[in-house]
Amino acid sequence: MASTGSNSSVREPEVAAARTDIALVLTSYNDARTIGPAVRAMRDGLSRHVGSGSARFILVDAGSTDGTEDAARAAAAPSAPIDVARVGPPGLADIPYHGYPRRAAALRTALETAARLQAKACVFVDPGLLVPDAAWTERLLSPVLSGGFDYVSPYYVRRANEGALTRGIVYPMFRALYGVRLRQPAGHEFACSRQLVAYYLEQDFWEFDQADAGVDLWLATAAACGPFRACETALGVRPPPSRDAPTDLGTTLAQVVGALYADLEHRVDVWQRVRGSVAVPLVGAVPTAEVEPVSASLEPLIESFRLGYRELREIWTWVLPPRTIVELRKLADGGAEAFRFDDRLWATIVYDFALGYTMRVMPRDHLLRSLAPIYSGWAASFLLQVGGATTVAVEDRVEQICRAFEAEKRYLISRWRWPERLR
């Protein structure tokens, strides 16, 4: 099978002869422990909730050596056969924060296969991150198959201390830039229509430098910027990740925020014309998560911020204007009990770093890593405010942050259009 950017090994005649209504895509890398349950859950969900219509699994593996492929085949059923593709083994530099190598090539291969199968709908799940619930298949598929949506984004209920990076940067900035309120726009679980599959394959981001870390976000961005209908689907409480989660905040920020900033450059002609934002439909009922007080001490986060202020202040002055530096000093000098990041201050900091990124005022990785202490400070401030709050109250707080990002978008545009070096 011809496949751009990957070393796919799906057998050509097998796929060429086949057609399917539904493509169930799994990407894997040494996920033998979880791939079987994932396939079974999706298979069960398919038979239980979706009913008629042909379906095929597409497994794209990044060179697993632990029997992932065999485990997946064993879990598949005659009603939903499995096609296996492989992308070439990763190099040492290919391991992104979530531990999944060559994700862009894997997703591209899956999309190419789905296009060839003429699938009406595609569902994507990464069993390395989550073992899906059987009901997810229906929740992701039905908006495409019967709701007329092209892009279905996951919506998980998350506790106050989960998903801070998404709540503090990715969602507010994505929403302010592209005008679409997708609350978890970089989720690995999503669904798309045949039209969107074709559109994705026309995009030119597949071989960009940060594609492995950024492709999930860029797929959401492409859907938001194109002529497509998007919605969110409630997937319940997010299960804990099954693959090792990252521990290095600097690397995580460099990859996630770097992907966001890179997209900013790529779609500048879109986001500079978007004003305001619109909500998208949320399909399904959202359960209420138990309220849990923030158990961990926030002092290490605040101390990390203070240490950053002492050690990285000089670097920050390359991207942050003097008034922001003064505000950060006040925070660093203040007590923990009154430690509060103003939303607009936070939004302008994220935007100023975006500008520094695009202006290349210093090596981009260094710049992004230097954001980590400020982010730690913001996260401490956020958790101080939402600790013990209900999920609804947390969402209200996130909404305030998003409004600040939307209000400060003018600041970003004016600085983007007429950048002035600070040093």
């Binding site: 030119d204 430098d209 007429w418």
Partner: protein, 551 residues
């Protein structure tokens, strides 16, 4: 984010920012006093950071250099002073890596008299080899053709004692014209095109394109046979490499230049010669009329075609396309020093032309970047480089690029006496006052301003692709126009006067929309049915996006 090359828009030239440079003048990497491809390669980061998207290289081929390389002795090589073909390939690859396209010169009309084709022709008996050039027993043929370089040439014919015949040359006598009535010559030049296309060159500036064919009883300019030849070249390019671009140099009235676009089947681009001197005239008169007239006389062009706009280039500010009165006015206004005059033009750079007035420089560039067409920036004008009137011909505007305040302006490590040209050293424009390094460190420098303007221009395709419509406010010192493309409406207004000017504009067609000043993204009061009042500072200009009001 690096984008793979070759997946671009075939109309890429409409959105391009072209930077014109002579390789010899840009940076000397090997210390021999002459700029080279290795030097250009080393300065690509600078060009990338400036934001230009296309480099136009002046001739770099083997040549006796009697006309700064436009006298080509070998179309398929690199002049040894500038490096090797391998150096060129390395530079080209690196430019493409930075998403910059590269266009080169294709001097179709003539070669050097040192070209092997000419040396062979003058000794050949009558027949195909001699017929590579245009010969005559007398100098009486083609009497209708004017002499272009009136300051140096008295006739378009020169006697060749070897051939015992006159040969035809529209430019210098050391540049014999090729004979395109000979099919072998056409084949040769298509082979030249293929050579550079195969190396990856993105486009060709067709030098002196109106003069390719001669016919008795005509001016020997813009002949139907010339257009037929260009169509043949275009077909060849489209079949072989569709994304490559042809840029016509036809210093002719707009209607004649229009013909070089054909029906979209000749050149992709052509220089808009008439508008450039009128911009300078309007500035000096403090009256928009010369610009408006020139633009209104500009005929529509096919959808796939584009005008190339420039303020200054490697030649003199040509006044061939203006009336006698206008030419006299321009000489009085811009070249009181007779040294500045050359042929029918003024050999000065942008900054000296406008008295080194920063506001005027910015205003003119704002017009360059907002008029319909693709802007071309001449090397060094982004830092306000000066010129040297005491160098011969047009060499005064081709001096070494001023990189630093160090020896030789940081252009070369060679002994200053060895430089191909002295650097500019006067106290106003000299390299110690005007250089890239100093302006990089000064956030209010012209260099930073140009970089931001280029960045702004690239954000809006309307500038390269949109329509233009002039407004007629009573105050003629103010030029106002609207650019439209798809959903974008951009309103531009410029004060051509040295004093502050008020203006009332009829924007009632846009009532309800909100002007947002584009550079600072500042919202202005919404447009109503009454005249819209603005005040512009000396040589001030505004660009506004017209946006719908927020809900």
């Amino acid at each position: 984010m690096r984008r793979p090359r070759g997946t671009g828009d075939p109309l890429w030239y409409k959105d391009a920012i072209i930077y014109e440079l002579p390789v010899k003048s840009f940076f000397d990497a090997n210390g021999d006093g002459i700029g080279d491809f290795q030097g250009l390669y080393e300065k690509l980061d600078y060009l990338e950071s400036l934001g230009v998207t296309c480099l136009w290289l002046l001739p770099f081929f083997p040549s006796p250099l009697k006309d700064d390389g436009y006298d080509i002795a070998d179309y398929l090589g690199v002049h040894p002073s500038y490096g090797t073909l391998e150096d060129f390939k390395r530079f080209l690859h690196a430019a493409h890596e930075r998403q910059m396209r590269v266009i080169i010169e294709l001097v179709l009309n003539h070669t050097s008299d040192q070209h092997p084709w000419f040396r062979r022709a003058r000794e050949a008996p009558p027949g195909p080899l001699r017929d590579y050039y245009v010969w005559s027993e007398t100098d009486e043929k083609y009497k209708g053709a004017r002499v272009i370089f009136v300051d140096t040439e008295r006739s378009n014919w020169t006697w060749d004692p070897v051939a015992h015949a006159y040969y035809w040359h529209r430019f210098f006598q050391h540049q014999p014209d090729l004979n395109y009535d000979n099919p072998a010559v056409v084949r040769e030049m298509l082979g030249v095109l293929d050579f550079w296309i195969d190396l990856g060159v993105d486009g060709f500036r067709l030098d002196a394109v109106p003069y390719l064919i001669e016919r008795d009883g005509t001016s020997c300019e813009n002949l139907p046979e010339t257009h037929a030849l260009i169509r043949r070249i275009r077909r060849h390019i489209d079949e072989r490499a569709p994304e490559r671009m042809l840029l016509a140099e036809a210093n002719q009235p707009p209607a004649e230049v229009r013909a070089y676009f054909g029906e979209g089947d000749e050149c992709h681009m052509a220089f808009h010669f008439p508008v450039m001197p009128r911009i300078f005239m309007a500035l000096h008169l403090e009256d928009r009329q010369p610009i408006v007239e020139a633009m209104e006389r500009t005929p529509p062009i096919p959808e796939s075609c584009q005008w190339a706009l420039f303020l200054r280039n490697h030649d003199e500010l040509t006044l061939e396309m203006v009336s006698d009165d206008e030419r006299d006015y321009m000489y009085l206004a811009y070249s009181m020093d007779p040294q500045a005059r050359l042929n029918a033009g003024i050999r000065r750079r942008l900054a000296p032309l406008v008295g080194n007035n920063r506001r005027r420089i910015e205003l003119l560039n704002s017009l360059l970047f907002s008029f319909p067409g693709t802007p071309i920036v001449y090397y060094g004008d982004e830092i306000g480089m000066g010129d040297n009137l005491y160098l011969g011909d047009r060499n005064g505007v081709r001096t070494p690029m001023q990189w630093t305040g160090d020896r030789n302006a940081g252009f070369s490590r060679a002994n200053p006496a060895r430089l191909y040209s002295p650097v500019i050293m006067d106290p106003v424009y000299g390299y110690q006052a005007v250089n890239v390094e100093a302006q990089e460190n000064d956030t209010s420098s012209l260099l930073h301003w140009m970089r931001n303007m280029i960045r702004m221009r690239k954000l809006f395709k309307v500038f390269g692709r949109g329509t233009i419509e002039f407004l007629s406010p009573p105050n003629r010192r103010v030029l106002a126009y609207v650019r439209r493309y798809r959903d974008d409406i951009i309103f531009c207004v410029a004060n051509l006067s040295k004093w502050v000017q008020p203006v009332e504009l009829d924007l009632s067609a846009f009532a309800g929309l909100v002007p947002v000043e584009m550079l600072g993204y500042t919202e202005f009061p919404p447009i109503g049915s009454a005249p819209y009042f603005l005040t512009l500072g000396p040589y001030g200009f505004y660009w506004f996006e017209l946006q719908r009001p927020r809900a």
